[in-house]
Amino acid sequence: MSLGPYASFIVTAYALVALVLILLIGWVVVDYRSQTQRLRELDASGITRRSGRGATELT
């Protein structure tokens, strides 16, 4: 596959899209881990939801 004289523009565009999408996916994953960790800590301290279920019970 030859990208011609403007290969650097094409490669930079695809690399940038890949980078931003990886950052977005990483943000969602790290955020999920952070929230579940905080819920675990609250659960360990004995705080329960108004429904009586534990903080870490997601459903």
Binding site: G4, Y6, F9, A13, L24, Y32, L58
Partner: protein
Amino acid sequence: MTLTDLANPTKFLALSARILPWLAAATAVLLAIGLYQSATAPDDYQQGATVKIMFIHVPNAWLSMFVWGVMSVAALGTLVWRHPLADVAAKSAAPIGAAFTFLALVTGSLWGRPMWGTYWEWDARLTSVLILFLMYLGLMALWRAVEDPSRAARAAAVLTLVGAINLPIIKFSVDWWNTLHQPASVFRIGGPTLDRAFLVPLFVMAIAFTLLFLTLHLAAMRNEILRRRVRSLQMMQANSRAA
């Protein structure tokens, strides 16, 4: 399960947990097919290989507006129907929409330099998309700045609906003003002007990016629900300590 059931965050968490793996798998498969088709698409007779930038630029540009559209419906949900998940949906969509808009601007610039001879031109299309990007950032700042979640939700919903005025301006900017940006070539009266060799990878990539948005949005909504649960439990903890 009805729409009313989905208003319950706990039921939403259960349903989204079942849907997410399938959505993520469909996104990965379509993205792989789209990337393969983009790589093997022929060069354009005028643009050469830079036409490959279109396969990522156009889906990002479409999504930059689509996400604001989703947020506008969610804003109505907050203001009119007071749906418990409406603000969650809008708040979680904003960073994703901002990322798509940023990518639309940057990939457009990277295409514009070799084709137009410039990275940037203050024409109506480029400027209105830049304004959309700034509005995303403004909304995200607003949610962070207002501490009371219900006040933040209402203010953000009003700002989102006001900002929706920009969507038709972006869409029709190339018709209303004389712009360097080319007029619509896919969704237009008389059908697309693109050859099938470019149209197919473009549509596959557009669907893949849309599925990616849905996957990320569902996951981000789950995180936002958990964040709100953490906040309310921390308040309960603080109250029980104070009592």
